[in-house]
Amino acid sequence: MTVAADPGAPPPLPAKTGRALLIAQALKAFRANRLSSVGVVIFVIVVVLALLAPVIAPHDPLEQNILSRLDGPSAEFWMGNDSYGRDIFSRLLYGARISLFIGVAAIGSAMIIGSAIGLYAGYRGGRVDAVIMQAMDVLLAFPALILGLVIVAMLGPSIQNLIIAISLTAIPPFARIARAPTIVVKERDFVEACRALGFGDLRIMVLHVLPNILSEILVMGSLWLATAIRVEASLSFIGLGVKPPTPTWGGMIREGFENILDTPWLSVFPGLAILLVVFSLNLIGDGLRDVIDPKTRTD
């Protein structure tokens, strides 16, 4: 027997698959969190400004203007000039490109390598797991900034080496975060079913276990991107960042710090820029975590 459809009822919605529904719900929850939305807006603005730096920047970031040395903010130079007379606003825009590039490249690679290590260790278990995680613990025994310092000093300061250093400090936490859920997921029935069907370990790990732990890795990625930008700026401030005259935010603060008594804006503007980006990423990370783990939901 069939039930006749109510002619007044709205047309049925297209059925969503389980995963699509989950993603839609997560997006809705994320959008409902106003603070995270503010974070997204700030971060997108910074990314757009960085990408459009060659179009927006009023001056060449490397152009020296000796007559304008250490001048304060003016109509022509919105944020003033540094000790070489270079335009701080233009350097800030170009510096954003480098900070973001180093952060994204370092955390992107740490995410891929760390997750692969954690996934493999958790999936294999036993002695392999013990040895890998012991090695990760040794790396975790150093404070991240100290490890970064030593690695950059060892390899020499360059964009590529900064990416390697920051990435190496971030790999162990990603391995840990990927390993923990893998241990749980690999015991579930569907993984057992995959094995029974004769799927290879690699296929099971990448196609069946990874999607189940991806959300936690992504949340951690957004929070670590904030850390990476902070660490890059810190290393540049110590003098182990990208070599001058390339503008980086940490390097600009370092240069400004030499004249802190007379021209504080040299350090303050790039300092506020770092704060803004790190803050926006932390807002996004917090919102993502709330969506994924309702237990820690802040609202």
Partner: protein, 313 residues
């Protein structure tokens, strides 16, 4: 408990050995010849060779490694390649400054962070909660050197309340406190941001527990329910986070020491890296690892103080 401490320290030995090996390898692939760095660009080849010989840099790597381990175990950490002073002595000279800074920041972080976290949890989703949450997120977004520069500008340069250079005499208690104040406020407020967040979420979890409802039903005073019954149970995650973030605190102390020109392990390691002072670097890295191991142990021991149900086995 003593047996537990001894066992934990024993199990930390392989980690310490692995770290020492890593440190040994790391400092030896640092580009640049330390003998050249010490003597400068103008030095003759003979002088460089003589110094390499004296520093033992010409010996096979494995010999240097065995020597390094032997010396580390017997407490002879060699002399700084730059100053010629014993490494342990130089570290011991500045360690009290770093300990002062770390402990003061930790106390400030707990004194500000715990009450703020509890307050925020009790006023969940009200204005005060939003302000605290945004404030604490802002606090942990501050790179330590940016906040240090802002504090230096406001309180030392414009208001002239604190010295610009925080490297004073440690034996004079007043001077010690004056020099410690601004660097400790800098790191303490960042620490407070972390502690506020974890205290808030931990308190929210505990406040939903049945025993809190029972305490309220029994008519216990609100103050004692919050500060004695709830907070004590909410503190374990707080201690865990404090232990974890102590590593960040130690890293941040490097930046704070540079901005405030304060002696400490951080300034020593930056100097050692710049001058390729291998022996000093080795010593410092081992000290850092040792500090982290001790902090982890103290964190675990603190659990037992807070919660008598925690057994050490």
């Amino acid at each position: 408990m003593l047996a537990y401490v001894a066992r934990r320290l024993f199990f930390a030995l392989p980690t310490l050995l692995a770290v020492m090996t890593l440190v040994f390898v790391l400092v030896r692939i640092v580009p640049g010849d330390p003998a050249q760095t010490i003597l400068g660009d103008q030095a003759s080849q003979e002088a460089i060779m003589a110094l390499r010989e004296r520093l033992g840099l010409n010996r096979p790597l494995w010999e240097q490694y065995v020597d390094f381990l032997q010396s580390a175990i017997t407490g002879d950490w060699g002399a700084s390649m730059v100053t010629g002073q014993p490494v342990l002595g130089e570290i011991a000279n500045v360690l009290p400054y770093t300990i002062d800074l770390t402990v003061a920041s930790l106390i400030l972080g707990a004194v500000v962070g715990i009450p703020l976290g509890v307050w925020s949890a009790l006023h969940r989703n009200r204005l005060i909660d939003y302000v605290t949450r945004i404030g604490s997120l802002l606090g942990l977004s501050f790179p330590a050197f940016v906040s240090a520069i802002l504090l230096l500008l406001i309180f030392s340069i414009y208001l002239n309340w604190f010295p610009v250079i925080s490297a004073g005499d440690r034996s004079d208690p007043l001077e010690r406190l004056e020099n410690l104040a601004l660097p400790a406020i800098n790191l303490g407020l960042i620490m407070a941001a972390y502690i506020t967040r974890v205290t808030r979420s931990s308190m929210l979890n505990v406040l939903g527990e049945d025993y809190i409802r029972t305490a309220q039903a029994k008519g216990l005073p609100h103050r004692s329910i919050i500060w004695i019954h709830a907070l004590r149970n909410a503190l374990i995650p707080v201690v865990t986070v404090v232990g974890l973030y102590l590593g960040i605190l130690i890293g941040n102390s490097v930046l704070t020491e540079i901005v405030f020109n304060r002696p400490g392990l951080g300034k020593l390691i930056v100097g050692a890296l710049g001058q390729r002072d291998y022996t000093m670097l080795q010593g410092l890295m081992v000290i850092y690892t040792f500090i982290i191991i001790i902090v982890n142990l103290l964190t675990d021991l603190t659990y037992g103080l807070i919660d008598p149900r925690v057994k050490y086995s």
